[in-house]
């Protein structure tokens, strides 16, 4: 298990070298990339709550390992200022079977989105704008 909160970019390939664990038959990864939804975004700023972020991410990852008998799990989340197209975070799950690996990765994403203390602010030509949480994101937790 590896949990990292960092401002530096990460190298997915390097992170995944040796990832898997004994008995893994399926590895799923998710990578989040900064989109330019409005077409006018100049940068994205991610603020986080040092200390709580690591705790929340560890708790979420440990729950995924227990529920889906994961053989390995990786969660990396960056904070700071990002340009469009930059990698913002990634998760990876390894399990014996593909269904468990997929479900665990989706669970991690749903929980990271609404339970890890990160806040996104869009920087545009006319000012800054905190991105509001979506009701759908909170609803997504109900299926787990």
């Amino acid at each position: 298990m590896r949990i990292a909160v960092q401002s530096a970019p990460f190298d997915s390939a390097a992170e995944l070298a040796g990832f898997g664990g004994a008995g893994a038959g399926a590895i799923v990864t998710f990578t989040g990339i900064v989109r330019n939804d409005s077409g006018e975004m100049q940068a994205l700023e991610l603020e986080h709550y040092p200390g709580m972020t690591e705790r929340a991410m560890t708790a979420i990852a440990e729950e995924a390992v227990a529920r889906w008998s994961l053989t390995d799990v990786l969660v990396i989340h960056r904070y700071g200022r990002f340009a469009v197209g930059e990698q913002i975070m990634m998760v990876a799950t390894a399990a014996r079977h593909r269904k468990a690996a997929f479900e665990a990765a989706e669970f991690l994403m749903d929980y990271l989105k609404s339970r890890a203390p990160f806040w996104k602010k869009e920087i545009g030509p006319t000012g800054e704008n905190w991105i509001a949480a979506k009701e759908a994101d909170e609803d997504a937790l109900k299926r787990w």
Binding site: G32, E47, Y49, P117, F118, W119, A133
Partner: protein
């Protein structure tokens, strides 16, 4: 009301921006989070502005998500912030 105690109060995202500082140490005898919010709101308009709609806010006690009715006894750090938007 309980015995006055020192507590760290931290703010994130637009809560931090409205209040104008990221953290402060205060001494309070508030029994619950709601009591603490009431006490802060009475201080200055910028607090009242930040806490105007509690349904738009979340609270963490010692870095664990909690709620506004939770007691503050023994808590060292209270954090206020909007719903999270990670991922």
């Amino acid at each position: 009301m309980t015995e006055p105690a020192g507590i760290e109060v931290v703010y994130f995202a637009w809560v931090r921006e409205r209040i104008g500082l990221p953290r402060e140490s205060i001494t309070t005898s508030a029994a619950t989070v709601a009591d603490l919010v009431e006490e802060l709101c009475a201080r200055e308009p910028r607090y009242a502005a930040a806490f105007a709609d509690l349904s738009a806010l979340r609270v963490a006690l010692d870095q664990e998500l909690s709620d506004f009715s939770a007691p503050l006894a023994g808590v060292r750090e209270v954090a206020f912030f909007p719903p999270m938007t990670g991922g």
